[in-house]
C-alpha cells in the first residue's frame, strides 16, 4: 500500500533547519555528520523528487532516485554558491535548506504530488542472525582499524633528512640547519658548518630520536659577495661523511 501523507516534507524541512543550526553553532563532528551528510545524499533529493512529481514504484527506486537528485542539487549548489561568493560551510547549509524548503513548499502545494511507495515488509531476524550481523560489522571495522594502524606504523624506507636553508623569515644574516629522523633507532651525529670552505660552527654528539626534528638558526656575516654555506653530517662511530648539504648566503 502506498503512503499518501506529506509529513515527510515537514520532516525534511526540519532536518534542513537543524543542519543549518548545527553548522552555525556546533563543532561536533558527530552532530554535524548526522545532520549534514543526509542533506547531501538524500533529504534534498527526496523533496526535489516530490516537487517534480516523479512517481516511484518501490522504496528502493525512490532511494536511488533521491540520491541522484540530491547529488544534482549539490552540484547546482556549487555553481550557485560560487557565483554568489558564498562557498562556505554556512553557505552550503543555507543552500540545502533553501532547496529543501522550496521543493517542500512546491510539493505540498501540488494536488497531484504522487504518494510515496510503500516500505518493504521488515525481514524477520532471529537472535543469532542479529548477533552474526553485529559480529560481522565488528570484524570489518576492526580490520579497517588494523589497516589504518599498519599503514601509519610501517615504513619501507628508514632515513635521516638533513637540510640547510637561507632564513625563511627573509633575514639575510641567518641560515637554518635541520635534521629529522625517520629511523627505527636513535642516531648520534656530529655536525660541521663551513662558510666558503672555512669552518664556521660545529655541533658534537647530536642525538636524534626516531620522529624527532632538530633545527637551529645560525647567524652568519653578510657580505657584498655571495658566500656558500655547507653543512656536513658525520657519524661519530666511524667519522665518515654521512650527508652534505649547502646553500647560498644572501648578499647585502
Amino acid at each position: 500500500m502506498r503512503i499518501s501523507s506529506k509529513r515527510d516534507l515537514l520532516a525534511a524541512c526540519l532536518w534542513a533547519g537543524a543542519a543549518v543550526a548545527a553548522v552555525a553553532v556546533s563543532d561536533s563532528l558527530l552532530v554535524r555528520t548526522a545532520l549534514g551528510a543526509p542533506m547531501v545524499f538524500l533529504v534534498s533529493g527526496h523533496t526535489v523528487l516530490r516537487a517534480i512529481g516523479v512517481r516511484t514504484t518501490s522504496a528502493m527506486q525512490h532511494f536511488v532516485y533521491a540520491v541522484g537528485t540530491s547529488l544534482a542539487a549539490g552540484i547546482a549548489g556549487g555553481f550557485a554558491l560560487n557565483a554568489a561568493g558564498f562557498l562556505t560551510p554556512l553557505g552550503w547549509a543555507v543552500w540545502f535548506w533553501a532547496v529543501t524548503a522550496a521543493a517542500a513548499l512546491v510539493a505540498a502545494g501540488r494536488r497531484d504530488t504522487p504518494d510515496l511507495p510503500a516500505w518493504p515488509a521488515p525481514a524477520r531476524v532471529r537472535l543469532w542472525q542479529g548477533a552474526a550481523f553485529m559480529l560481522a560489522l565488528l570484524v570489518a571495522t576492526g580490520a579497517y582499524a588494523l589497516a589504518v594502524r599498519d599503514e601509519a606504523a610501517y615504513r619501507e624506507f628508514k632515513y635521516t633528512a638533513f637540510w640547510l636553508l637561507p632564513s625563511a623569515s627573509g633575514e639575510s644574516g641567518r641560515i637554518i640547519v635541520g635534521i629529522r629522523s625517520a629511523e627505527t633507532q636513535p642516531q648520534r651525529f656530529d655536525l660541521e658548518i663551513t662558510l666558503d670552505g672555512q669552518p664556521y660552527a660545529i655541533f658534537r654528539s647530536l642525538t636524534i630520536a626516531p620522529g624527532d626534528t632538530w633545527a637551529r638558526e645560525i647567524p652568519v656575516p653578510v657580505l657584498a659577495t655571495r658566500q656558500t654555506a655547507e653543512a656536513r653530517l658525520y657519524r661519530p662511530e666511524d667519522n665518515r661523511l654521512y650527508r652534505s648539504v649547502s646553500t647560498l648566503v644572501p648578499r647585502i
Binding site: L29, V64, S246
Partner: protein, 655 residues
C-alpha cells in the same frame, strides 16, 4: 525401433551440426519466464554471508599488511580473501530461487565489500594517480573557496568540478576530513550505481533474476573494482549516467504528465552529468542518440510516435547539454581526448593491417603475475561464451511477444518489429566488448579500451545474464546447470579484480608505477617542502614526486622548464648541456627534486617524467641525477639519502 524407420531417418551430420549450433546460440528462450515463484529473503543466508565477507575482509587486510613488508604469503592471503568474498555471495545471488530483496541486498554487500578492499590498499589517503589529482583540486577549492582554479597537472579537471563540489560540500557541512568525506561519497556512489543498474536492467528485462546476474557480471568489468571506485570524476559520471538510463527506462510506458515529470528529472541528471565527466556524458549522448534512432526505425507499436518524441527529446538534451558546457567554458576537449583516441585507433588499425609497430608499442605491458593473467583470460573466455549464447536470446526478448519459436523473433527484429529499443540497443552494444579488448591489447589504445569497458559491460552484463537464465540454467535448473553457471560468474567477477591493475595488493615501492610508488618517505619530503620552504614554490621533478609536491607540499609544480623543454631533458643526460643549462637559467624554476630510487630499476609504466619522453623505458643513472652537485649557482639544500632537493634560484641571478 523398426529397422526400416531407422534406415529412413539417417542423420545428416551437417544438418545436425547446424541444428546443434542453432540450439546453442539461437534465440530460443527456454521456459519463457526467467524467475522462479516469489520467495521471502532468507535472513539466515544473509547473516552467514555477512560473517563470511567480514572474515574475507580480514584476510584482504592481512594480505596488504604482508605485501607492504614484501612477504611471500601476501598473495595467498589477499586472493583467498577475495575468493571468499566473491564466491559464496555470487553463488547465492545467481541461485535461481533467491528472492529479489535478498539478491539486491547481497549485490550491495558485495559491491561495498569490493570497495572496502580497494580502500584498505591505502586506508588513510588517496593513492591512485588520478585520485591525487582530484584531491589536489578539492584542497584548492576548500582553500580558495572558488571554482575553476587552474591545475597544471590536470588542465581539464577544473572545468568538470562536480566531484570536488560534492566532496567539499560534505567537508563543509560535516567537518569531516577531505579523505573521509571523499570515501563516504564514493561508498554512497557505489551503492547508488548498483541500485541504478539493477533498476535499469530490471525495467528492460522484466526480471529481477536477470538483472541481478547482469549486475554481478558487470562486476567482471576491469574498471569496476578500482577505476570506478577511485576518487575521480569518472566514478561520479558513471553513476549519473546509469541513473539517467534507469529513470528513462522506468518511464518508457508512461504518457502525458508523468512522462514529462520523468523528463524533468532526466534533464536535471543530464545537466549534472554534463558538468561532471566528459566521457560519461559522451556515452549518455551516444546511448540516447542511438536509442532515438532505433525508436525512429521501429514499427509495430501504436504509441510509437509519442515514445519516439520523448526519447528524441532526451537524446537532444543528452547531446546538447554537454556541448553547451564545452562551449561555455571553452574546454579544449579535442586537444585533451583527441591525441589519445587518434594514437589508439592508429595503433589498432596498424596492428590489423600489419603496419610497422609504433614506438609506444615497443614498451610492452607491465609485468603481471601468471595466475592473474590466466584468471583474466578465463573470465574473458566465459564472457565470450555468454555473449555467444546470449546475443540472439537478448534480441529475441525484444521481439513482439508471442513470436518466440525458432528464428522468428530475429526475423521480426530484422523487419524492425520490436517492443523495446533499449533491449535491441544493449544487445548490439555488447559487440563493443571485442573492440575494447582489442584496444586493451595495445599500449596506445589501452586507455580507450579501459574506458569503453565501463560502458560496454552494461550491455555485456545483460547479454551474459540472459544467456545464463535462458540457456545455461533455465527456470528450474538441476545438477550441473545449477552450479556451473554460478561458478562461471564467480570467475568473471574475479577476472574483474585481476584485470583491474598490475597488482591490487599493496607491495613494496616500485619505480614509476603510480600508486605503487607512493609511500611515506616521498609524502614526508613533500610535507617538509611546505613546512620549511613554504607553499607555492616552483618545483620540477619526476611524475610521482610532482604529484606529491603538488598535493602534500602545496607547491607550484611545473611540467615544462621553459616552452619546448621538458624536465626529462634536464634530468636524463649525465651532463647538463648548454641548451639545458640556459633553459634552466632563464626559467622561473626555484627547486629541482631528484629521487635516487628511480635509478634502482627501469620504470614500471615505461616512463619517469612524461608518457611522451624521448628515452622511454631506458634506465636513469645516479650520475645523471646527481650532476647538479657540480653546477655553479645550484645548491643542494635537502638530502635524505634517497631524495635530494636542489635550489636553482642562484642560476637566475644574471637574467
Amino acid at each position: 525401433m523398426p529397422a526400416h524407420f531407422a534406415a529412413g531417418t539417417r542423420i545428416n551430420p551437417l544438418r545436425a551440426g547446424i541444428r546443434f549450433v542453432s540450439a546453442v546460440v539461437g534465440p530460443d528462450l527456454r521456459d519463457g519466464s526467467a524467475d522462479a515463484p516469489s520467495q521471502r529473503a532468507n535472513s539466515g543466508w544473509i547473516a552467514v554471508l555477512c560473517l563470511t565477507i567480514a572474515a574475507a575482509l580480514l584476510l584482504v587486510v592481512a594480505g596488504h599488511a604482508a605485501g607492504r613488508r614484501g612477504y611471500d604469503v601476501a598473495p595467498p592471503l589477499f586472493w583467498s580473501g577475495v575468493v571468499l568474498l566473491v564466491a559464496p555471495t555470487s553463488l547465492r545471488i545467481a541461485w535461481p530461487t533467491t528472492a529479489r530483496g535478498e539478491r539486491l541486498f547481497l549485490l550491495f554487500l558485495l559491491a561495498e565489500a569490493l570497495f572496502y578492499c580497494k580502500n584498505v590498499y591505502s586506508p588513510m589517503s588517496f593513492s591512485g594517480y588520478d585520485e591525487v589529482l582530484h584531491w589536489i583540486a578539492a584542497e584548492d577549492l576548500i582553500t580558495a573557496r572558488r571554482l575553476f582554479l587552474s591545475n597544471p597537472l590536470f588542465p581539464i579537471g577544473p572545468t568538470y568540478p562536480a566531484l570536488e563540489i560534492l566532496t567539499t560540500a560534505i567537508v563543509d557541512l560535516t567537518g569531516l576530513p577531505l579523505f573521509v568525506s571523499g570515501t563516504l561519497l564514493l561508498a554512497i556512489l557505489k551503492g547508488a550505481f548498483i541500485g541504478a543498474l539493477f533498476l535499469f536492467l530490471e525495467s528492460i528485462a522484466g526480471s529481477p533474476r536477470i538483472s541481478a546476474i547482469a549486475c554481478l557480471a558487470y562486476m567482471g568489468c576491469s574498471t569496476f573494482f578500482l577505476f570506478d571506485s577511485a576518487f575521480s570524476y569518472g566514478s561520479l559520471g558513471i553513476v549519473l549516467c546509469v541513473l539517467t538510463f534507469a529513470v528513462e527506462a522506468a518511464s518508457k510506458d508512461l504518457v502525458g504528465g508523468p512522462r514529462l515529470k520523468s523528463l524533468g528529472l532526466i534533464a536535471l541528471l543530464l545537466a549534472s552529468l554534463a558538468v561532471t565527466h566528459h566521457v560519461s556524458a559522451a556515452f549518455a549522448a551516444i546511448y540516447f542518440g542511438a536509442l532515438a534512432a532505433l525508436e525512429a526505425l521501429r514499427r509495430h507499436d501504436s504509441l510509437r510516435i509519442k515514445t519516439s518524441i520523448a526519447v528524441g527529446l532526451v537524446a537532444i538534451l543528452a547531446i546538447t547539454l554537454p556541448s553547451l558546457w564545452v562551449q561555455a567554458r571553452g574546454i579544449p576537449l579535442t586537444g585533451y581526448l583527441g591525441p589519445v583516441i587518434e594514437s589508439g585507433l592508429d595503433t589498432l588499425l596498424g596492428n590489423i593491417l600489419g603496419a610497422p609497430t609504433p614506438r609506444s608499442e615497443h614498451l610492452g605491458a607491465p609485468d603481471k603475475a601468471l595466475y592473474m593473467r590466466l584468471t583474466t583470460l578465463l573470465a574473458l573466455l566465459l564472457v565470450a561464451l555468454g555473449l555467444a549464447t546470449g546475443f540472439f536470446r537478448s534480441l529475441a526478448m525484444a521481439a513482439p511477444s508471442g513470436a518466440q519459436s525458432g528464428w522468428r523473433p530475429i526475423q521480426d527484429i530484422l523487419k524492425r518489429r520490436w517492443h523495446d529499443s533499449r533491449l535491441v540497443l544493449l544487445s548490439l552494444l555488447a559487440f563493443g566488448l571485442p573492440v575494447s579488448v582489442a584496444f586493451r591489447l595495445t599500449v596506445a589504445g589501452w586507455e580507450i579500451g579501459n574506458r569503453m569497458g565501463t560502458f560496454v559491460f552494461i550491455a555485456v552484463g545483460l547479454v551474459v545474464a540472459v544467456s545464463i537464465v535462458h540457456y545455461w540454467q533455465g527456470r528450474t535448473p538441476r545438477g550441473w546447470r545449477r552450479i556451473a553457471p554460478a561458478v562461471a560468474l564467480v570467475i568473471i567477477v574475479l577476472g574483474g579484480v585481476t584485470s583491474s591493475s598490475i597488482n591490487p595488493i599493496h607491495g613494496r615501492y616500485r619505480v614509476a608505477a603510480d600508486q605503487e610508488s607512493i609511500e611515506p618517505m616521498g609524502i614526508e619530503t613533500a610535507r617538509w617542502a611546505k613546512e620549511w620552504l613554504g607553499a607555492g614554490n616552483r618545483f620540477t621533478t619526476d611524475r610521482i614526486n610532482r604529484l606529491l609536491l603538488a598535493g602534500y607540499g602545496r607547491q607550484d609544480v611545473r611540467v615544462t622548464i621553459v616552452a619546448g623543454v621538458d624536465p626529462a631533458r634536464i634530468f636524463e643526460a649525465e651532463r647538463l648541456g648548454p641548451d639545458e643549462f640556459w633553459a634552466l637559467a632563464r626559467s622561473d624554476i626555484d627547486f629541482l627534486l631528484i629521487d635516487l630510487r628511480l635509478t634502482t630499476a627501469p620504470p614500471v609504466l615505461g616512463f619517469y617524467f612524461q608518457p611522451w619522453e624521448a628515452r622511454q623505458g631506458a634506465s636513469l643513472s645516479g650520475a645523471a641525477l646527481l650532476k647538479f652537485n657540480d653546477v655553479k649557482g645550484v645548491t643542494r639544500i635537502y638530502d635524505n639519502g634517497w631524495i635530494v632537493i636542489y635550489d636553482v634560484r642562484g642560476l637566475h641571478e644574471n637574467f
